[in-house]
Every structure is written in structure tokens, then in C-alpha cells.
């Protein structure tokens, strides 16, 4: 009995497992409905190529939402960083130009994020308003700087930079997929094993508690928005370098999909709990749906409805069996096993007593 309970509890507490389940179910369904497409590796490679930019955005957003905030300005940062890179790349014909472009792009993202952070933490503007305004402002600035035109950077394909960011590993796997995975692992450690992450979680849980426990709430928020700006700029770089072109509207389509991925992944909208791994799988769910549904041969009119249905399914599943919300199932188990369980705990405590 006890073993069964602990297996269930363990499964429930593995981060992102329900979301991964949905992703696999989805691919299973596509394998049945569109075998000609989904039995070949091409489709998966195309997912690994297109999902990373919104995935990277979703990962950053996971931290922001965990802190009880929101950032709506990242589409503008994707555009601004893409422009910054492309501008440096086309205007300077030297070996270091691509690197300078990357540096400028990331710095631009940091600047946008830092200003967002100041507005939210110092001035006290609610983040939804501050970052919405910021989205309009920086998107406008980008269009102005670019003169409303796109920039072709075809030559970027010949640079080492291109191979590092978006090359094909073994001529097959898009490098950006590894960047996405690497960032997910890195941010998991930051959120769950680093003091900065713990500050984020407590600020999101209850900023008053965080403050009286000695966390600098303002600094945490400023750092967080700055980090989000840098991450969004990185997503912009991955996108621009992969496509070999910058266009002013790039990034605008990521706003809702990146947010959907975060919520599918099990991050709480109220803050205090975020799932980086959930966002990883959630991004692939969102990124696979469109292509998958189209491949099954139903008319494309269905795509939106199916996407909505899957989102609801994922979020509901998270609520029902997600960590800490196993309540219905685990309560039943607790009732069934209560007598043996309390006995076990007591003896454990007694052993502890004698040991101490």
C-alpha cells in the first residue's frame, strides 16, 4: 500500500511529467492520423528548428510569471535585437561584426528589460501596463530605425556564428534546439537551486513575506526583468540568424503562443510556483500542434479549435494531477493507508529521538 502511494506521489512530483505525457499522446495521435508525415524524421527536425525561439521566450517568461509579474514587451525585443544584429552585420564588413552584433542585440534586450524593471520596481507601475507600453514603444522604435524595411543578411550563413547558433549538428539536428534545451536546464537550476530563484519564488508567493525575510524585492524584480530582456534578445538572435533576414514584425506572433506554453507547463498565474521543464514540453506542444493538425488532413479551419482544446486539456490535467494538486487522488490514498502510515512516522520519529 505504502509503496503504491509513494510511487504515485513520486510520479506526481516529477516536474513536467503530465505535460510530457500530453506531448507524447499528441505525437501518438499524429502518428495514427498522419503516419506518412510523422513516421519520418523531417517533421521532428522542423519542430526542433522552429520551436526554440518561442521556447526560449517561454522559459524567460516562466521566471517572470513565477515572480507574480508579466512581460508583454518581449515581441518588441525580438524585433529590436534582430535589427541590432542585422544592422551591425550589414554595416560593418569585418570578422568581428557578427560578434559585435550579438553583443549589441543582447545589450539592447538588457536595456529594455532594465527599464521595464525600473518602472515596475521603483516607480511602481503594474508590470502588465509597464510592459505593454514598453512593447508599443520599442516596437515603434525598431520600425523607425529600420525605416519599416527588412534587412537581408544572407552572408551570415558563411560565418562561424551561424554554425554556433543555428547550424546543423551532424548535418541534422538544429543547434538552436540544443540552445533551448541548455537554457531550460540552466534556468531550472537558477529557479530551483539558486538563491536568485528562491527570491523569485518567494516574491511571487508573497512580496510582503519576502521583504520581511530580508529579500530585496526591488532588486529581485529589476534583475528579473533585465534577465527577461536578455533572454528575449537571445530568442530574437536565434530567429534572425536562422532565417537570414530581419523583418520589423518578427516576434509579434510569439506573444500568445509563448504565454500559452508557460501555462500549459503548469506555472501558476498567481505566482510562487513555476515549472521550467513544463514550459519546455509545453512549447513543443504548442509548436507541434499547427503543423500536426494540418498534416492530418483536416481543413486548416480546425487548427485553432484543436489548439484550444489541447490547451484546456493540458491545463486541466496539470490541475488534477500536477504536483501539490494531486489532492483528490492522494487524499484517497492517505485515507486508505492512514493507520499504517502514522505508525511508520511515529516509529521513525522515535528512532530519531534515541539517535539524537
Amino acid at each position: 500500500m505504502k509503496q503504491r502511494r509513494s510511487i504515485l506521489a513520486t510520479l506526481g512530483s516529477i516536474e513536467g511529467l503530465p505535460v510530457l505525457g500530453i506531448l507524447l499522446l499528441l505525437y501518438g495521435a499524429f502518428l495514427i492520423t498522419a503516419p506518412s508525415v510523422f513516421t519520418k524524421h523531417r517533421i521532428y527536425m522542423s519542430f526542433l528548428q522552429t520551436v526554440p525561439p518561442p521556447l526560449v521566450l517561454g522559459l524567460g517568461l516562466t521566471l517572470v510569471i513565477t515572480a507574480g509579474e508579466i512581460d508583454l514587451s518581449f515581441p518588441a525585443v525580438v524585433a529590436l535585437s534582430g535589427f541590432a544584429f542585422s544592422w551591425v552585420f550589414t554595416n560593418f564588413d569585418t570578422v568581428w561584426a557578427p560578434w559585435a552584433g550579438v553583443a549589441l542585440a543582447l545589450a539592447a534586450g538588457a536595456l529594455v528589460g532594465f527599464v521595464n524593471g525600473l518602472l515596475v520596481a521603483k516607480v511602481g507601475v503594474p508590470s502588465i501596463m509597464a510592459t505593454l507600453a514598453s512593447q508599443f514603444f520599442w516596437y515603434g522604435v525598431t520600425i523607425l530605425l529600420a525605416g519599416g524595411l527588412q534587412l537581408n543578411i544572407k552572408e551570415v550563413e558563411e560565418t562561424v556564428m551561424h554554425d554556433i547558433f543555428t547550424g546543423r549538428i551532424f548535418g541534422l539536428i538544429p543547434a538552436q534546439a540544443l540552445w533551448g534545451l541548455g537554457l531550460a536546464i540552466f534556468l531550472w537550476f537558477i529557479l530551483n537551486r539558486h538563491t536568485f530563484g528562491e527570491s523569485i519564488i518567494f516574491v511571487g508567493d508573497n512580496p510582503n513575506v519576502a521583504q520581511v525575510m530580508g529579500i530585496n524585492v526591488e532588486i529581485t524584480r529589476i534583475k528579473l526583468f533585465t534577465l527577461m530582456g536578455v533572454i528575449a534578445a537571445f530568442a530574437g538572435l536565434l530567429l534572425t540568424i536562422e532565417m537570414n533576414v530581419f523583418f520589423p514584425t518578427q516576434g509579434q506572433s510569439f506573444l500568445l503562443s509563448a504565454m500559452a506554453a508557460v501555462f500549459i507547463g503548469g506555472t501558476l498565474i498567481s505566482g510562487g510556483k513555476g515549472s521550467v521543464i513544463g514550459t519546455l514540453w509545453g512549447s513543443y506542444i504548442i509548436g507541434s500542434l499547427q503543423a500536426g493538425v494540418v498534416a492530418t488532413g483536416v481543413t486548416s479551419y480546425w487548427v485553432q479549435s484543436v489548439m484550444g482544446f489541447i490547451m484546456i486539456l493540458a491545463v486541466a490535467l496539470n490541475v488534477v494531477i500536477g504536483e501539490g494538486r494531486l489532492s483528490g487522488v492522494s487524499d484517497a490514498f492517505r485515507r486508505w493507508t492512514s493507520s499504517s502510515r502514522s505508525h511508520v512516522t511515529k516509529t521513525a520519529m522515535e528512532t530519531n529521538d534515541t539517535a539524537l
Binding site: 539558486h194 520581511v212 525575510m213 530580508g214 510562487g272 501539490g324 502514522s342
Partner: protein, 264 residues
Amino acid sequence: MVDDSAHSYALQMIDVNKYFGPVCALKNISFDVGSNEIVGLIGDNGAGKSTIVKILTGVFPPTSGELYIGGRKVDFRRYSVQKAHRYGIETVYQDKSLGEKQVLWRNFFIGREITLPFGFIDVKKEKEIANEIMINTIGFRGKGITVDSKVSELSGGERQGVAIGRAMHFQADLILLDEPTVALSLKEVRKVLNFVHKIKEGGRACIYISHDIHDVYEISDRFVIIDRGEIVASILKQDISLKDLDKFLLEYAHGMKDKAEDKS
């Protein structure tokens, strides 16, 4: 009995004023707490009790005045919550002490994590120590509460137990309890009062704030009564019975009301 602690103070506040804009929240507050003394701070809503607590814990500085903690003068320009922790001051609030959605081991170390290089948290060590605090300091036994339990799964009294246990573990010389029993059942209040008795036995000092005069009377050595930002009385427990204290507070409240009515 000549009490040595009468000569060593956990804290001395001298002529402290605090304004929020034009609003005067504290006016010439001077009082002290002995190093093993439990002081009950009593006063109406908005009297300024929480404001005193927040100044002591470095949440914000006073507008003017001096503060000595364990004999050391506090420099308010460099004072902060972390500094207060280092000076041995810990605070337990009714609802601001613990992150509800978080596990207990995180709550024990929030703001002063045990770290590995580069700011990463030593989870194993934190859990070990948290477990020890729970068993030895707080005395949670056989309740199925573990370091991985979430705060939201605990009863109100247990939550305050965790917060007080945390304070005692970190060697606080002075523990401030700001309405720790609000919204608790009698049974849970009893648990909290027992934790406060442990503070006294442990040789530490405490400021206890509550609107329940019975609770305050039971655990305090002395009562400091504050009204609209001013201290109006400081009475040793041995000099007053619960009944008289109750009567004093009632009469005082009425007296103020009469005065107010006279004015209008």
C-alpha cells in the same frame, strides 16, 4: 531578587518619531526590553505597534530617534532586515512570516540560504538542519509533517510554530511577535503561547503584540501601553492583576473618548 537582565538590555529605543508624510505614527517613543524579558505591547488599532516592529526589524527607518540593540547603536542609514537578523532580531507576523505555497525547508532558510559556490543552494544541508529544528526546537513529532510539507498543509498554530522555531534556531536574542494568534482557534493559540514560554526559558527576550489581553497577561513580564503613537504606561506584571489591567485599559479608552467628546 536582583535581576541581572535589568542591567543588560536586548533593546533600547530613545525618543523615536515616525512620520508617514504629515501623519505622525510614533511620537517620542522611549522604552527598553531586558535581555530575558517578555514585554507585552498593548494598544488599539492604528496605535503604532506594527510601526515599532518595522523600525526594529529594519523594514523602514524612523524619522528621528535612537536605537540600541544589545548595547550597540544602530546606524539607520545602514540598517536593513538582514542587518537586524545579524543583530539577533527575528520577527513572527500573523500572516507575513511564511511563503504559503513553499515547502518548509525553503521557508526556514529564505533570505539566509546555506550556499555552495556561485550562490547555489545546499539543499541537502538545509533539509538536514530544517529537520533537526522541527524535531528538537519546535517539537513536531509523529504528525506526518516533514521538511517537504508545504506551509499551506499546516494549521495556523503549526505555522507560527515553524516561524518561532526558525527564529530560535537562528539564535535570536530578541523575538518580535506581531499578532501571532489572530484567527487561530483556542487550541492553536495555546500552541503559540507554549512556544513563547520556550523563548523565555531559552533566556531570550520577546515583544509580544496581541489584542487578547488574557494571552498578553499570561506570558508577559511587563506591559507597555501605547495610544495613538505615544506610550502612556509601563506596568510590571507583579504590580497589577489581570482584572486591574483590564479595568485600566477600559477606563483609559473611555477617558480618551470623553476627552474627544469634550473637544467637539
